[in-house]
């Protein structure tokens, strides 16, 4: 069979924020870089991000700095975050945002001409650099245009625009290639197919950066696009790397709930940051009833105080609508379950009674447009109906904080596909900045790895042959199971049984279904030819979705506590003992998912001391608290 072959130094899989930033870095460090993505260039899921990029620039409130941002991030993640990642993120995100501006991004401005910053859930100060409510589009377009600028430079220098950085759009990677079967054998490339032609393609490369985003397409109600099939998570597992924190999935509190065909599409948190409030069917601002103990001193307890906060943040506590996302999502879930929901099974999000119409259209243009066009609702005149939607997975490839390196030599990961940065729950706005900070670091990590290699790795012939057989298998099973049906059943199962609230029996049931679906998926067939055949593509993506769902369910069953994006009905409390443990998923030799407990790396002393004792005592064990006391005494 005819296989197209290319040789690169670094192959980046995924062309969202993390992938593009990684590729730009690798190219800037002189590496020949390929960007491989399933969609057209510039369409990746990053375009959906609305609110902004969190960066402690202090443009709006000069009290902000990396330490405050670090604390907010750890608090939002319920202290399960990899502290080194949270530290790097808080320190470097301002530089990453400013760099975008130098590449042509046009953020909204403050009166003195700096980048404006907006309030968001869990952030102590206005911190999100934004462009209206289309920040993700600005980010991806800027990075896309930066890639083009580098190509123009290469055209001038080498007479070939694609000499050092080339985009392979509508190209899907099915397997990572390695020098041998051993878990620690190095990466030697990546294998896949062109969606447009069905032609197989092989990249020979010593380093691969995974930047494939999330896994939302395993759920029915999701804000995620079709691309989010957990490809990078699965590719990493199959290559011998491990995943952490897979039980933690963020259900964004405000997705559209009606009409049914748009159920799950995101309603930006900026609606609440800019004054929008949540009400139940009785017209009550119910979030005041759901402020958890750990946040009691930071949130307003009356509507009057909450309303004053928008204009005077120094003397008032923030409204509880701006609690971290996991808290708000659970609260909405409880209201609906208690029979106080809106007509279509959500709650009301109202900005119409809070801001003048012109102001709403100026601040939230995409939301105004989206509701008008898709739901026939004018958000300047009436409330929106919203409910939780599967939005983001905190779990992902276990990586070294500084370089994005996984345990497999030559394999790197950044952005949503990597794990650790956000702990058990991600704050809004911390994703776009995560992409930039760790995309750059993974690109640099990959470049440095390539520099250290003595010789280019070689893929054994049998590895190539196996990749080829697997990629085309569904085409030869033309009478096989319908992949769309298997997919729908997986989505329903995960939504109902491993969703926002979990119980041991239900998760066990889900695992049984997933096992059966794996058998059915292996028998799916795709009628039709090789040219742009979505049935074939889905049959291949199913392997990834099922592997990832298996990890999510297994880890969810083992973690017997509730924390961030993992809520167990049968274990409602947060446990200080469990905070010290990470669940690590890997594949056994016979392809089964294994889960092992691992100790969470401790926080460095200087970071530990950034917190006050009263707050720490809500999260950490008595032993850890004694260590803290000793630290303080020492100084």
């Amino acid at each position: 069979m005819d296989i197209e072959r290319h040789e690169y130094d670094v192959v980046v899989i995924g062309a969202g924020g993390a992938g593009l930033r990684a590729a730009i870095e690798a190219r800037q460090q002189g590496k020949r870089t390929a960007i491989v993505c399933k969609s057209l260039f510039g369409k990746a899921h990053t375009v959906m991000a609305e609110g902004g990029a969190a960066a402690a620039m202090g443009n709006v409130n000069s009290d902000d700095n990396w330490m405050v941002h670090f604390r907010d991030t750890m608090r939002g993640g319920k202290f399960l975050n990899n502290p080194r990642m949270a530290e790097l993120h808080a320190k470097e995100s301002p530089d990453r945002v400013w760099e975008l501006e130098a590449w042509g991004a046009l953020f909204d401005r403050t009166k003195d001409g700096r980048i404006s910053q907006r309030n968001f859930g869990g952030h102590e100060y206005p911190r999100l650099a934004h462009v209206g409510d289309r920040t993700g589009l600005e980010l991806i377009r800027t990075l896309q245009q930066r890639v083009v600028a580098l190509q123009q430079e290469d055209e001038r220098l080498h007479g070939d625009a694609e000499a050092y950085i080339k985009v392979f759009a509508e190209c899907t990677i099915t397997t990572l290639l390695k020098q041998g079967p051993a878990r620690d054998a190095g990466i030697s490339g990546a294998f896949g197919y062109w969606r447009e032609t069905g032609r197989l393609i092989c990249f020979d490369a010593p380093a691969v950066v995974l930047a494939t985003g999330g896994i939302g397409k395993s759920y029915v109600v999701t804000s995620n696009s079709w691309e989010y099939t957990g490809d990078g998570h699965a590719l990493a597992l199959l290559a011998g790397a491990s995943l952490i924190n897979m039980e933690f999935i963020q259900f964004h509190p405000t997705g559209m709930v009606w009409p049914p065909s748009v159920r799950g599409i995101l309603v930006t948190e900026s609606v609440r940051g800019d004054g929008g409030v949540l009400r139940n069917s009785e017209g009550k601002r119910f979030m005041f009833d759901y402020i958890p103990e750990v946040f009691k001193d930071k949130y307003a307890t009356t509507e009057e105080e909450a309303d004053r906060w928008y204009n005077d943040q120094a003397n008032n506590r923030r409204p509880p609508e701006l609690l971290p996302r996991d808290e708000v999502a659970r609260a909405i879930n409880s209201e609906v379950k208690a029979g106080r929901g809106s007509p279509h099974g959500g709650v009301f999000l109202d900005v119409s009674s809070r801001l003048p119409a012109a102001e709403i259209i100026k601040r939230l243009p995409s939301m105004h447009h989206q509701f008008k066009e898709l739901a026939d609702v004018d958000i300047t005149a009436e409330p929106m109906e919203v409910g939780p939607t599967c939005h983001y997975i905190m779990g992902g490839v276990e990586v070294e904080a500084d370089t994005g390196a996984s345990s497999v030599p030559g394999l790197f990961a950044a952005g949503e596909v990597s794990g650790g940065m956000h702990g058990s729950n991600r704050l809004g706005g911390n994703s776009l900045s995560d992409l930039l900070v760790f995309g750059r670091r993974a690109g640099a990590g990959a470049a440095a790895y390539v520099d250290r290699l003595a010789a280019r790795p070689v893929t054994p012939d049998d590895v190539m042959r196996a990749a080829e057989i697997e990629a085309v298998a569904p085409l030869s099973r033309a009478g096989g199971e319908n992949p769309y049906e298997v997919h729908h059943e997986l989505q329903r199962t995960m939504n109902e049984l491993v969703g926002i609230i979990r119980k041991a029996e239900e998760v066990k049931e889900a695992l049984e279904v997933v096992t059966k679906l794996k058998e059915r998926a292996a028998a799916t067939g795709a009628p039709g030819g090789r040219i742009y055949n979505p049935g074939w593509h889905l049959a291949i993506d199913l392997r990834n979705m099922l592997l990832v769902s298996d990890c999510v369910a297994r880890a969810a069953l083992i973690r017997e506590e509730s924390r961030g994006g993992h809520t167990r009905d049968d274990f409602p409390g947060m446990s200080a003992e469990w905070r010290r443990k990470l669940l690590v998923c890997a594949l056994t030799a016979d392809g089964e998912v294994s889960v092992e407990e691992k100790e969470q790396p401790p926080m460095r002393d200087d970071l530990f001391r950034l917190f006050d004792r009263a707050e720490l005592s809500k999260y950490v064990t008595a032993d850890e608290l004694a260590d803290y006391d000793a630290l303080v005494k020492e100084s």
Binding site: L106, G113, L374, P534
Partner: protein, 260 residues
């Protein structure tokens, strides 16, 4: 609420193809893309269609619905009667790969021909200062989701393949305007807009503005002002004289908006 709708969808590849008739279920609140997806799941598993976000934000699902360029995800079924036959075809200006999917590489080629953002050398990241009012003009153009429907509908290339090499299309002429109006861009883009990217081909029929799903006023706010900037340069006797006597004066003003 559901009913059976009549759909005619273009099927085919490699330059060959025909309209195929389908009868398919439609439910309340659905958009055309939902119905295309139902066809895939139940009747035509290999039916090719591009899509991503399904919320009008990525610009992937551009097709022609009853002959009009539309995003499949933003065209509600409630805008048609239950008895109407709905015809879905690929964008006409670009070659069809298969079914509803076109080869849109023309657009990526043109994107690469427009010189990139060119800031002054002496401003470091973090030092940029711009007023909101000065960034708003370019911000409007940066709302573009690159659905390429403006380029698809533009008659300069829709019916004239021979114009493609010399014409960047509304999308990328707007990109030139965006950069020209960027407070920190120092490149001179006026002559090249006219001479290299085909601004002169545009005779402001506003078809691009009409199909823009982001409601960007492409003609009024980007193309016409850009034409005016070109004309100002060409017919201003002082500028003309200057360009003959001295080296052409580019916009080297590093802050504040440029003339125009």
């Amino acid at each position: 609420m559901g009913y059976k709708a009549k759909f005619r969808v273009w099927r085919g590849e490699g330059g060959e193809g025909a309209l195929e008739d389908f009868v398919v279920e439609v439910n309340e609140g659905e958009v055309v893309l939902d119905v295309i997806h139902r066809l895939q799941a139940t009747q035509a598993p290999d039916l090719a269609v591009r899509w991503n976000c399904k919320a009008g934000k990525c610009g992937s699902c551009s097709v022609e619905i009853n002959g009009k360029p539309r995003l499949g995800c933003m065209t509600r079924m409630s805008t048609f009667t239950e008895y109407e036959t709905i015809t879905v075809t690929p964008m006409r200006t670009f070659p069809v790969i298969k079914d509803l999917v076109c080869d849109v590489s023309f657009n990526y080629q043109k994107a690469r021909e427009i010189p990139s953002f060119t800031p002054p050398d002496n401003v470091k990241p973090g030092e940029y200062r711009m007023q909101q009012i000065d960034v708003e003009r370019s911000q409007e153009f940066r709302k573009c989701i690159e659905c390429f429907m403006c380029n698809n509908v533009c008659h300069v290339i829709r019916d004239h393949e021979e114009n493609k090499p010399a014409f960047a299309g509304p999308r990328f002429l707007m990109r030139i305007a965006e950069l020209d109006m960027h407070p920190y861009d120092v490149a001179d883009r006026k002559d090249s807009a006219q001479e290299e990217h085909g601004l002169g081909y545009c005779n402001i029929t506003k078809c691009c503005t009409e199909v823009c799903p982001e409601h960007i006023k492409i003609t009024d706010n980007a193309l016409i002002p850009m034409k005016e900037r070109v004309v100002d340069r060409k017919y201003d006797p002082l500028v003309w004289l200057g360009s003959k006597i001295f080296k052409r004066p580019g916009s080297s003003n590093p802050s504040g908006s440029k003339a125009g």
